[in-house]
């Protein structure tokens, strides 16, 4: 923020370069044909940048009003952490998109592309306040994002189990009766319960020692 404010945006590191870039006046999600993921990324960049500058302005402003640096920092820290979260979530979205873009296999690319769309819509709904508060996004665009989310939930449904099978965890590694690959859950739940150390005897020593004498009194 300090570099951007002082006109030295060219000195920004590559992972924060978006802080110095110009952005559209409003989000173009659902406003341009074939906008797709790019418009989502621009929206995430806009809100991450705006929050960073807002938090920094609060921090600098407090110092200009005479607060000591450490006090100003502490009084801005919730807003600063919000900026950090948005910066990080932006990187995750971008890394996901870059990866999907690199894939050649069409069926894999399509399945992951569906997941990526679900991800950006879910993420954007989660942070929508930041995009709404300066009018960068409208409530109709938000409705579009919501519809897209439900569309991709449905689209992913037939692939759900296989998207997780793909991680190829053995039953030995998962150590879960409920998550068995063969799906034989109920009979194995019963088998598992029978292995409980409490089931080694029909009457526990705690019954003989305490509960029975109490009941017999």
């Amino acid at each position: 923020a300090a570099l951007v404010k002082s006109g030295k945006a060219s000195q920004l590191g590559p992972l924060v370069a978006y802080l110095g870039a110009r952005s559209e006046p409003t989000s173009l999600i659902d406003r341009v044909p074939n906008g797709g993921i790019t418009e989502y990324i621009k929206t995430f960049q806009h809100i991450a940048k705006r929050q960073t500058l807002k938090a920094a302005n609060k921090f600098f402003g407090l110092m200009e009003n005479g607060e000591k640096r450490e006090i100003a920092w502490n009084k801005s820290s919730v807003e600063l952490n919000r900026a950090s979260r948005l910066h990080t979530r932006l990187f995750i979205v971008e890394a996901f998109a870059r990866r999907v873009n690199e894939i050649g296999d069409i069926t894999i690319k399509e399945a992951l592309s569906d997941l990526l769309h679900l991800h950006v819509n879910y993420e954007l709904l989660d942070v929508a306040t930041y995009a709404l508060e300066d009018g960068f996004m409208s409530s109709t665009q938000l409705d579009y994002v919501r519809d897209q989310l439900y569309f991709y939930l449905q689209k992913i449904r037939p692939n759900a189990v296989s998207l997780l099978d793909s991680w190829e965890f053995s039953d030995r590694e998962l150590r879960s009766v409920l998550g068995r690959r063969d799906g034989h859950v109920y009979e194995n739940l019963f088998k598992w319960a029978k292995e409980s150390p409490l089931n080694k005897t029909d009457v526990l020593p705690s019954v003989d020692t305490y509960l029975k004498p109490m009941m017999e009194k």
């Binding site: 950090s84 996901f96 296999d105």
Partner: protein, 439 residues
């Protein structure tokens, strides 16, 4: 189970091909499957009973037993120099609850690799790799956690004897939390404020023998033990460690980047950011570890949601799989997307880290600050969202998710440990914020 089989028949892609995307190539994914198949044939490496039915001591004993078998047979199962294969082997055999040498591999050896001089590596690293000694990394203290500047443990240089005198002046100075410090390790890389001729040179790392190599008894001047049970991860003996004017040779200061000469002359590292590298390394790898744990829980919950039938969407139809409910999909699918996103972002971060390491060797440290800041944020956001996702997965399993038969509560407990180790999340976010404000 026909319901689960039906799910697999509707997939639009090949899961082996997807595994290759997840694990960074077809060869890596195939090796994972080969290792899994090989392990299936070695019963000594399987859990002798479900872990939730064991006491903490039994789990530690079981883990040490498997670790010993692994040490003997590792090279017939994996290429032991391949970190990816070793990680998978450990997950399969030892699991996520830890093991007596968990920190030996992920902290002790990397610390010696990064911070010990060539001579020191010849002396200790070789022995560590051969598992002749067991080590850990002891930085965190009871009173100030990982806040380096306020650590209270001191290492005061005695020019007369050419020794450092390690001391923990009060209870709050005790090293507290380091994994495997309590009972398993006989060495530790210890972080202490270094004093020479009354001047504080800040935190530095020292190779410190803790226990007699023959008897495993604590050495005189050392107070050491286990800190007690935790929310999860209980096979790890997180420990406490105190020093009572405990003396180590000058040459036990890890001297790859900084040096202290016999007369007490201090030679500082070539650039300050060098100390970031260990933190960036661990945090980069944490992301893919978190992605794995999130997918464990989602695997369990999604498979179960395809098996469990409850209620009707259409009153004229039979009971449906709970996975048909939009609420269940909304609970699970966005986290499936996040698990993939974390895995890919983690892989990209590891690549960036490797690039930075290369550039650092030629003196270019420009990207390190960028990456250090980013990994602070990533570690924080990813551990937080992973915890959220695992908890959603647990609730998606209804009451059975609460049973240890699901194993989700253990996965949750282990995963959210990441919210506080390697830097507490709020502190990490503020670290990134400092960088954003500067930018």
């Amino acid at each position: 189970n026909p319901d689960l089989t039906a799910e697999r028949l509707t997939a639009t892609f090949d899961t082996h091909a997807m595994a290759a995307q997840i694990y960074g190539g077809e060869m890596r994914a195939r090796r994972r499957r080969e290792i899994t198949a090989k392990l299936a044939e070695i019963p000594e490496l399987h859990d002798s009973m479900p872990l939730p039915y064991m006491t903490r001591e039994e789990k530690i004993m079981e883990s040490a037993r498997k670790l010993t078998v692994l040490t003997q047979r590792m090279s017939e199962i994996i290429d032991p120099t391949d970190a990816g294969e070793l990680y998978h082997l450990n997950n399969e055999v030892l699991g996520i609850e830890g093991n007596p040498m968990a920190l030996h591999g992920v902290m002790f050896i990397p610390a010696l690799n990064a911070q010990a001089s060539d001579e020191q590596q010849a002396k200790w690293l070789i022995r560590a790799l051969r598992r002749e000694i067991i080590g850990t990394y002891a930085q965190t203290e009871m009173g100030h956690g990982t806040n380096l500047q306020n650590l209270e443990t001191t290492a005061t240089y005695d020019i007369g004897t050419q020794e450092f005198v390690l001391h923990t002046p009060k209870i709050t100075a005790l090293k507290w939390w380091p994994g495997n410090l309590g009972k398993s390790s006989n060495y530790a890389v210890v972080v202490a404020h270094m004093y020479i001729k009354g001047k504080n040179f800040g935190p530095h790392t020292f190779m410190v023998p803790l226990r007699d190599e023959k008897t495993h008894k604590p050495l005189p001047g050392i107070t050491i033990g286990d800190i007690g049970p935790k929310m999860a991860y209980n096979i790890v003996d997180n420990g406490f460690l105190g020093f009572n004017n405990y003396r180590i040779p000058r040459t036990n200061l890890l001297m790859r980047h900084t040096k202290v000469e016999a007369d007490g002359t201090y030679i500082k590292p070539p650039h300050a950011k060098i100390n970031y590298s260990a933190m960036v390394h661990v945090r980069s790898y944490m992301l893919t570890g978190q992605a794995i744990m999130l997918s464990y829980a989602l695997n369990i919950a999604t498979r179960y949601s395809a098996v469990r039938r409850q209620g009707q969407i259409d009153k004229n139809e039979p009971e449906v799989k709970v996975l048909e409910y939009q609420t269940q999909q909304h609970r699970l699918f966005p986290f499936i997307a996040r698990a993939y996103a974390f895995q890919f972002a983690g892989a990209e971060t590891v690549k960036l880290y490797e690039r930075v390491l290369k550039e650092m060797k030629s003196g270019n440290v420009s990207l390190m600050a960028d990456l250090h800041a980013l990994t602070s944020g990533l570690k924080s956001v990813v551990t937080h969202q992973t915890g959220e996702g695992i908890e959603q997965a647990r609730m998606a399993c209804g009451g059975h998710g609460y049973s240890m038969a699901s194993y989700i509560s253990e996965i949750y407990g282990v995963a959210i440990g990441g919210c506080t180790y390697e830097g507490e999340n709020m502190v990490m976010l503020l670290q990134l914020a400092r960088y954003l404000v500067k930018s």
